[in-house]
Amino acid sequence: MFKKVLIANRGEIAVRVIRACKEWGIETVAVHSNVDADSMHVRLADESVCIGSHQPQNSYLNISSIMSAVDLTGAEAIHPGYGFLSENAKFAEIVKKHGIKFIGPDSKIISQMGDKIEAKKIAKKYGLPIIEGSEGGVKSLSEAKSIGKKIGYPILIKAAGGGGGKGMKIVNEENQLENLFLVAKTEAKKFFGNDELYIEKYFKNPRHIEVQIMSGKNRTVHLGERDCSVQRRHQKLIEETPSPVLSKEQRKDLLEKTVKMVEQINYEGAGTVEFIYENGKFYFLEMNTRVQVEHPVTEVQTGIDIVKEQLWIAFTGETALNQSDIMPRGHSIECRINAENPALNFQPSPGVISVCHQPSGFRTRVDGSIFQGCKITPYYDSLIAKVICKGRNRTEAIQRTLRSLDEFVLEGITTTIDLHKKILNHRKFIKSEFDTNWLSKEKFY
């Protein structure tokens, strides 16, 4: 196994990776910005290196600083976590060139999957159903018009280089197309440096369902699906597994097709293939070539440590998992605790956590990087902790999550804990009658 791993991230995911390394007996190196000097990941790591100032581009996105830290500490591998440089093909390539192991797939796959048009072509080639729309980039307005006619309105205009819900335009009827097409083109150029656009059918009531994959040279396995349809501004808030809306046959079809596709692209490590699900059908959305925020929900459901397995695959090139050994049981739910005020349109709520009591108890897991007296700065993502609970069935999982959220005491900042309680008690959540647009329409405050 590796002797020393550098974690090129911060917050709860850095803590998560350090924990996995410790259990493998791997020495850990934390990197941090000047404002993160006292944070949990720095305290838990064996060594730490300050790599720059508070702004991400000077520290957590600063490739040369991170490579210097690798040099300085003699780390053999880099775990990129999620966000920051985790899906930066250039970074993965530089790391490889320096003889350091990048814990994730090859830079070529990262770059293919990062290009949404290219990713769609690959998915289609290897047998995944894709969303109706343009086959590739849409060059002209007249081309856009003919696609609109073919697939029917409403349609969605997206940027090839985009992601995270940014730069998307919904076109409800043809007379809006000209204006929105040009706006989308300008914005795509401005935000992503690439004005290539593509068009897809727009879904009115979609669920977001994704498949967790682990893959090595020897084989590819799935760890079941996750349903992440409780979202605000296209960002997930609650994830659960199994999806309450899939039938047995639909699930089998989805998982088998996903494994088949990933098998054929020589994928290495942990990955997630995301789908839109509506009216009994699923459509490929994108593939995330990294560990995801919501990976613990699958871990508690299957009993498999995804991050430890990532490290194993990175070291040996092969996965130790066999599909027949993976047996998800019961039902698991994760709630993302963000330092935000849900009553004020999710306004950020930085500050000092003056009182911190985290929940525990039977089948309750809390992943986080917070402690009493820690400072939540305004410079990074608002996610501070995740509460993950497992039950024998969905009802018990909901009850256990509510019990755990009730125990969670955080003072000094405002969080999404209160909103989670409202959602989990809501009739629509309990009956699983919602889609990804639900939160923006429902009044909770």
Binding site: H54, Q55, K190, A339, E340, Q347, P348, P350, G351, V352, S354, P378, Y379, Y380, D381, S382
Partner: protein, 141 residues
Amino acid sequence: MKIEKKLIKELVDNLKEFNLTELEYQDGQTKIKVSKASKSIEQSKGNIVSPQNKAVLNTTDNSDGIRVKSPIIGTAYLAPEPGAKKFINEGDKVKKGQTIMIVEAMKTMNHVPSTNDGEVKKILVEDGQPVEFGQTLVLLK
């Protein structure tokens, strides 16, 4: 043993003067320890959170111009994106409600509108500088 009231009083005064929470004094066999209750510790903790806020909030007079303050703690940006034209320059005329700056907090871009019509007298922060809640960003005249 005689209790030296005068000495205790002196120590307590020192405690206040230097803003200490605890002070121990020893002279031969005599040892005196004075300390403030935990309440004052809590208060001093509260001050650490935003030491700049107090200073900023105390200077509310607009004698040297109208102060446009940051509505949130975060990173100030003078332009909508790196390399782009700045929202305002010194000497520019601005209208009430016009965006003068962006303060980024937790990956959310918050537009800061001007509170008044006027002319930009001075921009008090640099691009990319961390700002506190209530910190003056721009002076208008």
